[in-house]
């Protein structure tokens, strides 16, 4: 039987094969070959696509190049969501590799945030971690860390160093045994069919009566439609890291093991394939 630690590794080393194609709207000097890349599920698009950018810049004139952005089947991809979330949300159940279109013009200001440099991603990432720890430990753990510890978390993600990241992140995953879990579970529920960016509420891992709460309990409270009755056909898939955990999975365990490096449990709810 595998160890729970293997889950952390599997989550960290999850990769999505992607095929980047330059948008036909872009003007090029010669035809641009598509670029194939294995994207870490837990990272951010703009953090891992330097090579993509370099690849396409070779066929483009400097004056035609503005900020790079990505789109999948007409949907601009938000770089500030983890790559795995973007994939699960928009492209799960499709054929691989994931076909992502690359744009250098017409930045969709309404849909996307600008990402001038990696420090923007770092700031976003750290603010997520801090928010998560505010929920989990009233920010006590993150505030006790030193700047270099914060840096270690970020460098771990940026350089894909599992050990380096988890040496520090495990502190963020601790909790007093007597309390049975975090204060609140940092989670976000994403859905394709909504204008709301995501659902996020205060949710404790243990009920007032002392019962361990599960993924099902969470959904019951926040997205009841995701739970289909016994006899009904399944309407939605509840995806975390490309898998569908059983509804009886304890939410605390999920938070500890299936959270992204930003310490949030990102849950994608997508319509069940109709086949």
């Amino acid at each position: 039987m595998a160890d729970d630690k293997d889950v952390l590794r599997d989550v960290w080393f999850g990769r999505i094969p992607a095929c980047f194609t330059l948008s036909p709207e872009e003007t090029t000097e010669r035809e641009a070959e598509p670029y194939y890349l294995l994207l870490p599920r837990v990272s951010y698009l703009t953090l891992v696509t330097d090579k993509v950018k370099k690849h396409f810049l070779r066929v483009m004139k400097a004056e035609d190049v503005e900020e790079m952005w990505f789109e999948y089947e007409g949907t601009p991809l938000k770089w500030h969501y983890p790559i795995g979330v973007l994939f699960d949300l928009h492209a799960s159940n499709t054929a691989l590799p994931w076909n992502v279109t690359v744009h250098f013009k017409n930045f969709p200001e309404r849909d996307l945030l600008h990402c001038a440099s990696n420090s923007v991603i770092e700031a976003h990432f750290m603010s997520c971690i801090k928010e998560a720890d505010a929920l989990k430990h009233k920010s006590q753990v993150i505030n006790d860390m030193q700047k270099k510890d914060h840096k270690q978390l970020w460098m771990g993600l940026q350089n894909d160093k599992f050990d380096q990241f988890w040496a520090m992140n495990r502190k963020l995953m601790e909790y007093p045994t007597e309390e049975g879990g975090f204060r609140y579970i940092p989670f976000r529920i994403y859905q394709t069919m909504s204008d709301r960016p995501f659902i996020q509420k205060l949710f404790r891992p243990v009920s007032p009566e002392g019962h361990t709460l599960t993924l099902g309990d969470l959904l019951k409270e926040l997205f009841p439609a995701a739970i289909s009755a016994e006899d009904e056909p399944k309407k939605f898939q509840v995806m975390i890291h490309g898998i569908e955990p059983l509804l009886e999975t304890p939410i605390q365990w999920l938070s500890e093991h299936l959270s992204h490096p930003d310490n949030f449990l990102h849950i994608s709810i997508i319509p069940a394939p109709s086949d």
Partner: protein
Amino acid sequence: MPSSLLWAVDVYGRVYSLSTSGQQWEHCRDAHLEFKRVAAVQQCCWSIACDHNIYLYVHASEVPIRYQEETYENQRWNPVDGFSDRLLPSDRWQWSDVTGLKHQPLVDFQLPSENWEWEADWYVDENFGGEPTEKGGWTYAIDFPATYTKDKKWNSCVRRRRWIRYRRYKAQDTWVKIPSEQTESLPDPFNDITCGGWEITEEPRGCLALWAVSLQGKVWVRCGINHHNPEGSVWEEVPVPGEVVQISCGPGDLVWAVLWEGHLLVREGIGRDCLKGSSWVTVESPSPGVGVVHVAVGVNVVWAVTKDHKVWFRRGVNSHNPCGSGWIGMVGEMVMINVGLNDQVWAIGFEDRAVYFRQGVTASELSGKAWKVVSVPRDSERSHSSASASSLQSAGCFFGGEVRLQSQASVLSDADPETERAGGEVVPTPEIGDAPKPRIPKVTSDSFISELVSDREGQISRRDVPPAGPSIPEEDHPEKELEDRASPAQVLSPSQSGGVDPQWSNVDLEEAQTHLTSGPGGDAAETSSLSSVATYNLALEEPYGPDEHPKWAWVTGGGCLVECHTQLNWFNTSISTALNSSMQAMSLSITPAQTAAWRKQIFEQLSERSKREMENFMHFEQAIEQSVWVKKGTMQWWRDWKPHKWVDVQFALEQFSGAEGNKDGILFIYYTFNDEKKYLHVFINEVTILVPVLNDSKHTFAIYTAERTKQRWPMRLAAATELEMHDWLALLSVSCCDSRGIQGPPSKQAIWSVTCKGDIFVSEPTKELEASPYPTPCDQMFWRQVGGHLRIIESNSLGVVWGIGYDHTAWVHTGGYGGFFQGLASSTDNIYTQTDVKCVYIYENQRWNPVTGYTNRGLPTDRYMWSDASGLKECTKNNTKPPSPNWTWVSDWTIDYAVPGGTDREGWQYAADFPASYHGNKTLKDFVRRRRWARKCKLTTTGPWQEVPPIPLSDITILPCGPKSTVEQVSLWAISNKGDILCRLGVTSLTPGGSSWLHVGTDQPFKSISIGAVHQVWAIAKDGSAFYRGSVSAQNPAGDCWYHIPSPTGQKLKQVSVGRTSVYTVDENGNLWYRHGVTPSYPQGSSWEHISNNVRKVSVGPLDQVWVIADKVQGSHSLSCGTVCRRLGVLPMEPKGHSWDYGIGGGWDHITVRGNAMEAPRILMPSLTDTQTATRPLQTNNQPEMNGNPVGC
């Protein structure tokens, strides 16, 4: 089981005890003296103090030690007076003992020693045979001696009654001196002591045998020690067939002694009637040719240590065969060994001087299994406000605001020993480098643990452990603690406290006094160089380490009850507790029972997912490139936690291109701990300095980050060869420079510093470095090494940089960089060969004995007969090597007569004992002497320096300028080796070497000089007074006359630095002084104001920024001497600043900030600018200098 105590003495003579239920050494604060030996039993602890007297510490118990004195009052009846004290002539005394044979009047009863007190006055015992009597306790009889009854009968002619008085032993839980009554014999102080014998007899209760050895090798036994007489009564000599150096007495009848020659003596015939025994039997040393130096006996065991530090176990010892049958060699190298209760064994390690416990000693396996180091912190390590620390602070040890007055080491050495003791008793005399020790705090929260990648999860409660933050003493702490502490040291006058502290007299004053004694022709730098090396090679070399772990001298387990099943919490506490607690956490641990469906589902789905999403695409390129390349190697690492030692590690540098194209890297140190592989890492861009530490045994270097600078605890690594070390250093320093974007030669603004090894480091200041109010902390400054070897370096912002070597050669910077070893980023030209010469010193030590006088025959416990200054390291003429492989001998050993404290004609200095303060003439009280030998060695290296012949110099100063200053001729003043003042002509930024020297007339020799931004020249004469040079200007570079400036009361000045307007001086006692009242019209100023103590050097820059080299800066893990510190809060109207900011340290000797004229961009706070009209004038005043600001804001 009640807790009991293990006692130990550290190498500084401080006594500590460790409770079996405790986890830290408790300093025995009551001990005002240093102790040489302790011998503990359960009820008390005996010791020999450094005054050679015997002291006793009796543990307080619930039942007091009291003794009933009694005497009888006798009366006879006569018809006239009735019963009266008129007795017949044949009768007994009127007051007598119970037998009537001894005259015992009440007044004859005296307390046996001052440690006893009377509980009450005499009273009549009104009980007789358990029944109360009437009439005043009288009992009657017909005559003396007869049967007494309590009733008076018709024929009762005599009566008597008993008087009782109790005395109580009052000296409990404190050290009391056992008065020595041997006035009739030669003064022969004790050298070793051992206590045992409590199993020999039950009667009288608490009977002990105390054996002692005198310096002359005689053996004494103290009689009459028992519960009611804890101090015993009298010493009896036991004749010995030779000269005994050490003795050990077990709980039973075993007594073994070590003879001078290295053989052993076993006492026979000890029994309940004869505690002294009857005869000696000789036992040969276990190893032929290598004598025994130490023996320890228990009930049925004998352990010994031979001269080569080997440990031996004696087989077959028991009370019928006290000599045993044979020796067994044991593992481990020890300096001493002690057998405690239950035959448990304690020892002091040879290499690390740590206390070891022999694990696994049981009645069936008396030799035990393995040595285990006792690693618990000392109480003083946890908080530096402890009494011991504060009493040290009274001696001015901390870097702080206290003024230390002039004190002479000789003041007390001539004093009567009694008064010396009076002083000595209150101020523990610390050794070199020992200072106020909040030593290393417990390591529980040490970052390395948090950085371990372990399979175990920490528990959240671990967060409660306070982080090992820096506890840097604020400037006013010493004063505060001085007031707080209730120790008798308060009665000391400052001069006394300074005087009895040999640290100051031996070391810190050494440099100053050398300058005095060496005279104009003396080689001041050579003598001072060693004193500085000896003083603070902290953090750079092992022998003194950064005070890392306590070094023990003696341990005694006679009072420490450990049974084979006892669980002690003394071993690796910090680490094991941390790991134990993390064991309890659960989230990442394997929980085999968890086979719930949901978990199974997740595992299955994850592996499915990996297959689906990755299996067919493994040929795709990875989005994140792993590190570009990795260099790996094996190295040794000075372990961060106790016991500190060199451990083999894998060392790797991973370099990668950062996201923005900059190169970055991570250093990994992979080590094994408890069979688990762990690592710790450092980001290259966080490294602040790489310090090579070459010595003859290891090729080591230290890595600092800002954090480690705060801790005063660098990461220390040792490479197998010098070449390997240079390879790594070159690679690491290139990486560090790359990650910080630093290349090429040092800028004109660069801050230069020199370590006590003569290594040169340079740091590029940022504008924020001198920003106010929030400057960049100076522990974040990045220092890179520049080739060459210098003692002093001075610069200005036009890029004129000069240095002076240890041999007083003057050097000018060529504008290049690098050098000193291959592979370092280096300019190709402008690198030249540089040589330097300095002296290495060793000490010859001798002890006096009555037969042969002074000889090189020391006591086994003495320091080596040839040693370094501290006495801890053996340094013979033959085995002493030059400081590093780069140095070679260029002369032979010669006696050094220019030693502080003076010497006799043969170079000897005398003292009562090692270590003590030495004086140049022999007195009756001196038992030891030493003399210093010097030998010159020479270094050849390369660096961007060119010699400026021909005059040897001792100090130098260069005109500080604004950054855009257009000074044609740069004023440069210097002091020659002989004390003459010189002015260099023709120095410009293009020709920094200048053309010729101009002599400036003086009446007396000088030692320090500094020129300010408007040509104000200050100098310090060799006699410690200050002078101001009038009328110096660009047109009149030599000025016209000297004005004498009185020095601060009672202080001799040592060094001066003049900035834009500020004038600072440092005196020989390490006080930093600011000159008040300096104005353009009255540049001499009016008075000195004390700013700080423990300052070694000061450098005032062109912005009037004040930087110093300070001693005894406290970090969270250690203490560093020779630390770069910057004055905070220095503003145009507040030139004195308010506090210190602590930078790199541990062996720094010199700094110059006189090149840094970069003012910080002014931070204007918009909301405040209008209201802050008061500060406006400041800013306008500031304008003239502002034109130098490159930003122009």
